[in-house]
């Protein structure tokens, strides 16, 4: 729930008067709101939680964390198919550890 994943800003645009970015999380690309970090630039890293950039992060820390998350299957937990996970839990099996771009 409070998992926040480091991501790299690919591009930035205004949408509905809101500063939005396309952010890459080790291969998974998501739309992210930059309203709380308005001076974040393309190429920079930030900690992202539920689609919002909350704090800047240096590149090395971000890379290390992403590697670890990928290894642990945490990216699947954050970006995988939640219905699949819930169904697997309800059936009593472990969710698959594979990241897909939705």
């Amino acid at each position: 729930m409070c998992l926040a994943v480091p991501g790299r800003v690919l591009d930035i645009e205004e949408r509905d008067g809101t500063r939005m970015a396309t952010v890459d999380f080790g291969g998974v690309v998501k739309e992210v709101c930059l309203e709380y970090l308005p001076d974040l630039q393309v190429g920079e890293y930030a900690i992202v939680h539920v689609g919002f950039a909350l704090q800047r992060l240096d590149e090395e820390s971000a890379r290390q964390t992403l590697e670890l998350f990928a290894e642990l299957g945490l990216l699947q937990e954050e970006f995988g198919d939640p219905w699949e996970v819930a169904a697997a839990e309800a059936a009593g099996s472990e969710p698959v550890e594979e990241v897909r771009n939705q």
Binding site: M1, C2, L3, A4, D16, G17, T18, K30, E31, V32, C33, E35, Y36, L37, P38, I47, H49, V50, G51, F52, L54, Q55, L57, D58, S61, Q64, T65, E67, L68, L72, E77, F79, P82, W83, V85, A86, A87, E89, A90, A91, G92, S93, Q102
Partner: protein
């Protein structure tokens, strides 16, 4: 996984552990107040790598686990209505309400959708003007700003068919409640890193001083947790009780001022019930009066729903650090992730689920047998 060579930097992990072992001279009880940290501690066997004198108590840091049963029941009631598209984060799907969960509501024909971000729910409302779109707004101070921004946007863009079922909780009042309890054994806190990345550290010095406990802001990765423990234990051994930041790469003293300003605008502080614990004064947020039109509780008249929590689930004691998950009679037998009695077994951040997933081999043989899920 309790082999140090499986850590990302085994050499650094070894050095941190050696330092902790060399520093400790007597027993200390530390509490982590974040479900992500609990999960990481159990998954990596960090508690088993620490000296025997250092006990980690798992606090009420999983927002899914502390969401009261009656709030889940309100969500189920709203999600069952034909005019509603109910949007939620994925980790709320299998949290048991009275007799069912959101996953089952969807199976019964309810339009329940999982979103990655609350803004996705707002987009769904824009795309479906003839439906009522409700977002389930739970979480600590990390999740509250994204939800606050979403309500703010709904008002700014004039989206009338969007509302939010809000059950946000705040960490500092929970620390205060835990420390004020006569049965409290906690001597030091690992504060939740991402909560502090939003809120900063300003709320903690007063608590550290009043209760004479060190509070160390800590990250989530195994090395972060070891460093948080190391700094907390050092303070305890020296008789100090200050606020320290062991997660400086993501936490600044002032937090994120823009996010804090939005919280002030959209929410107001209120008393909040925590599942298994009861009401903690001033421990939550609700929508401020000017945003009340976006409050799903009022819009769908579910304010009156009151639910008693089941007596056989002892998650309240687990959430307060008074009971370890495997000490509960129902653990692994009546209560498993497949048939959870309470939210601590269903959420991936709940202490019971973490013990079940990573500690089955450490449990007595008969229990371990019963606890192995049928795949």
């Amino acid at each position: 996984m309790k082999y140090i060579d499986e850590f990302q930097d085994p050499e650094l992990a070894r050095r941190l552990l050696d330092d902790i072992h060399a520093t400790v001279t007597r027993p200390w009880a530390l509490m982590e107040v974040c479900g992500g940290q609990t999960h990481s501690i159990i998954r990596h066997g960090i508690d088993q790598l620490l000296p025997e004198q250092v006990e980690l108590i798992h606090g009420p840091g999983c927002p899914v686990c502390v969401t009261p049963l009656e709030v889940i029941d309100k969500a189920l009631e709203i999600a069952s209505r034909p005019e509603v598209i109910f949007c939620s984060f994925g980790d709320m799907l299998r949290v048991p309400g009275t007799g069912r969960d959101l996953f089952q509501v969807r199976g019964e024909g309810g339009d329940v959708r999982v979103v990655y971000s609350p803004l996705d729910a707002l987009r769904i409302a824009q795309q479906n003007p003839d439906r009522e779109v409700v977002f389930f707004g739970i979480g600590f101070e990390t999740t509250a700003p994204p939800n606050a921004m979403t309500v703010h946007q709904a008002r700014k863009l004039g989206i009338p068919n969007f509302s939010m079922l809000v059950s946000h909780v705040r960490v500092p009042p929970a620390i205060e409640a835990i420390m004020s309890s006569p049965s409290c054994r906690v001597q030091g806190f690992l504060a939740a890193g991402h909560v502090c990345s939003v809120m900063g550290m300003g709320e903690y010095p007063e608590l550290a001083e009043r209760f004479r406990v060190p509070i160390v802001v800590t990250g989530f990765e195994p090395l972060d947790i070891l460093e948080g423990v190391r700094r907390t234990v050092r303070q305890l051994e020296r008789g100090e009780h200050t606020v320290d930041n062991a997660y400086a790469r993501a936490v600044r003293a002032e937090g994120n001022p823009a996010a804090r300003a939005m919280l002030e605008d959209v929410f107001e502080v209120t008393d909040r019930a925590w599942r298994g614990i009861g009401v903690i004064p001033q421990s939550g947020w609700r929508l401020a009066p000017k945003y009340r039109a976006y409050d799903a509780e009022h819009r769908f008249s579910v304010d009156g729903i009151r639910t008693q929590e089941p007596a056989e689930c002892r998650s309240g004691e687990v959430l307060q650090g008074l009971l370890k998950p495997h000490e509960c009679e129902a653990f692994g037998t009546l209560c498993t992730p497949r048939t959870p009695l309470g939210a601590t077994m269903v959420s991936s951040e709940g202490a019971c689920a973490a013990y079940y997933l990573y500690r089955r081999l450490d449990m007595p043989a008969t229990k371990a047998q019963e606890a192995t899920p049928v795949v």
